[in-house]
Symmetry: C2
Subunit: 412 residues, 2 copies
């Protein structure tokens, strides 16, 4: 075989997807995808990036590739043609003592403050958005879009009236609960099982107060019973800001097909996530899990690690693979969830919420710089530009518009 022919064969080999291999895209497909994304408003509905703002060595204007703690920064957003999204006020679930409620209250306000500090630090690069129309306006100005969301309402347990302050400060999307049951709702993943069998009375009040303000309710992390109650009580569609399909992988953080159909029938949207252990079973042994726990403990708690630790953790995890092999979720696995929900409820009810900087990212899509692969896949699957525009932001903004319109229509 001549060298030239060999080169052509190799090029084809690299360019085309092979059976049993991860999906691959040609440079032309990726270029087309990236170009298309640049014409759309592209939003991720769950960015945990604010958790990084307080890390001493994090710089939003510098790329941090190959880092376990950071998958989003300005250079990689530009590279991946991501305009922005919902930047989360995430607060861990404390032990539900009175003291913990105060800690959670303070932590939430602190996280909210650092989002505004980012906006103040880079007024030429980022701008706060509070209405659906803001997104296109901000993009047209050449800036990235910052909607503010809340993941886990633990900062509001001590005093739910603080919701008014969060709203004034831009909060437009909120979830009630996280990994564990809270005063407001049951979690999908609390090992103790249901406590309220859905929302607590305080949780219902919180949801209704939020909806009166036009804040979209985010079901992700809540139990199925919470989902059912939200559908029953909500006058507006709800969102799953970062979830997957239970039909693809049976995990409580994913949603079953029957509920997906209910979600869509009520006008709601699921934003598909890329959190590995929700996408597939990793087959991690008890030893592997213990080794991972020890590894993270070595670097101190998640909240106070430095971004530099994220690079070390990535290397350490790779070393663990040799000793305790696990199955890592890939882009194919993410796309299997995306494909399933698209086929089941249609592209008008699907979006993107990868859980970046909160555990998201798969092999083949390690950070936001890779996002055009999603668009390339959607194009390959034959979705229209309009459908892709909906998936990348139009659908979540439609839900937001309905929430804000309904709130505006209510007597004050």
């Amino acid at each position: 075989m001549k060298h030239h022919a060999l080169w052509v064969s190799l090029s084809l080999l690299l360019a085309l997807p092979l059976p049993g291999r991860a999906v691959e895209f040609t440079a032309a497909e990726l270029a087309r995808a990236s170009a298309l994304q640049k014409t759309l408003v592209t939003l991720d509905s769950h960015l945990d990036t604010p958790a990084n703002f307080a890390r001493a060595d994090f710089d939003m204007m510098v790329a941090h590739p190959g880092n376990k703690l950071s998958q989003v920064d300005y250079p990689r957003m530009v590279q991946g043609a991501l305009d922005g999204g919902f930047w989360a006020v995430y607060t861990g679930q404390g032990d539900r003592s009175a003291r913990a409620h105060l800690e959670d209250r303070d932590a939430g306000l602190q996280r909210l403050s650092v989002i505004h500090q980012l906006l103040a630090a880079h007024p030429d690069k980022f701008e706060e958005a509070t209405t659906p129309a803001d997104a296109a306006r901000i993009k047209a100005r050449g800036k990235r879009i910052v909607y503010i969301s809340m993941e886990n309402a633990s900062p509001l347990v001590h005093d739910p009236s603080l919701l008014s302050f969060y709203y004034r400060q831009g909060l437009r999307l909120m979830s009630a609960v996280h990994f564990l049951n809270s005063e407001f709702a049951d979690s999908a993943t609390d090992p103790k099982g249901p406590e309220w069998h859905g929302l607590s009375p305080a949780g219902k009040q919180l949801v209704q107060a939020a909806q009166r303000l036009g804040i979209v309710i985010d079901q992700s992390h809540a139990s199925d019973e919470v989902f059912d109650q939200l559908i029953a009580l909500s006058p507006v569609p709800i969102l799953l800001s970062h979830s997957g399909a239970r039909a693809v992988h049976d995990h409580p953080r994913n949603i079953d097909d029957a509920r997906l159909k209910v979600l869509a029938a009520h006008g709601g949207v699921i934003q598909v996530n890329s959190y590995g252990s929700y996408l597939i079973g990793s087959g991690a042994s008890a030893e592997r899990k213990a080794a991972e726990k020890a590894l993270f403990a070595k670097y101190g708690d998640w909240e106070h690690m430095n971004v530099a630790d994220g690079t070390r953790i990535a290397a350490d995890l790779k070393a663990l693979d040799a000793k305790y092999p696990v199955k890592h979720a890939t882009l194919d696995d993410f796309l299997a969830h995306l494909d399933h929900v698209l086929k089941l409820i249609g592209p008008e009810h699907v979006g993107i919420g990868m859980d970046w900087d909160g555990g998201g990212g798969v092999e083949g899509m390690e950070d936001v710089s890779d996002l055009p692969r999603i668009t390339a896949w959607l194009l390959r699957k034959g979705y229209t530009k309009e459908q892709i525009a909906g998936i990348w932001g139009g659908n979540v903004l439609r839900v937001m518009q309905q929430a804000q319109d309904w709130a505006a229509s209510q007597p004050k």
Copy 2:
């Protein structure tokens, strides 16, 4: 007379203070004063400047001379050799309804947030300080110093436990009350007179909670009875962040000589202010007062005016002078208060808190760029460099150190 001799005479005329004329300083005196200030940590204990941060057209990095709303910005701080001070979370006193308490709560948190946004926007120019030692360290780095204070604790009425969040966010100096009585304390100026005869029970709890955290208590704006109770209950010295001497002008916002002596005996400090109507009686007629009120109403409420309005208001006020003359406080009037307290309780118990951007400023000292005149006057009066260092910052930092040391010594 030859031209040369005339010139010398004129120079002397301009250089020397004349009877009946405002105090004047030679260029050499001002240069020496400015040079001295640059070697000291110079702090103003009551900067209302954060009220300007939210004004759409305010830019901290641009000088706004001749502006009724703005007397502090970075260029004028450099010009006046002011290193920084205590930047106030000021909140107006609402009508004390439950709704107003929530509004005050939200307003306080919002004001706190804009201070951190300033810090985020100009990390090379401003830095937050929380301990006395921070001030010199920040100055040595060539930056301006931002301690955070609270004027009026109305943001804490709804939920005093929010104090923990303010403390975490840097609060180190706090007053309980402003123009009107509150849930916490009697004001010096409420037309209704005393309501609690000092601190309320909630006010005492708040003061004690603050002192346990090492937050200095600021008596300015509170009634004499509050002063007496603070002295009685405080294990540490207290501060008057911006007040004058009642012996010089009999106004309830000023403090009498007997209490000044008590303040000093307890290690406290009075920071002399330059709020005109506390310095002298203006002799304003009812018509003048009504005209001023109408003038401000023309520009909308204080909180939402633009800085550009501040220039127009300055011009409009000058026009009012022609129609309704009033006596304007001058630098001499300010210095009369300063002189009195210095002589009465000594330079170890006196400092500077001009109420810039909150109504401060006098003829002959319109903004922070004029501050070396104070130092020139102190030098002329024979105060030593060490005494001047105390007046410009050492005294207030000593009070802060005592408050923080005491808090650290308490069982947790």
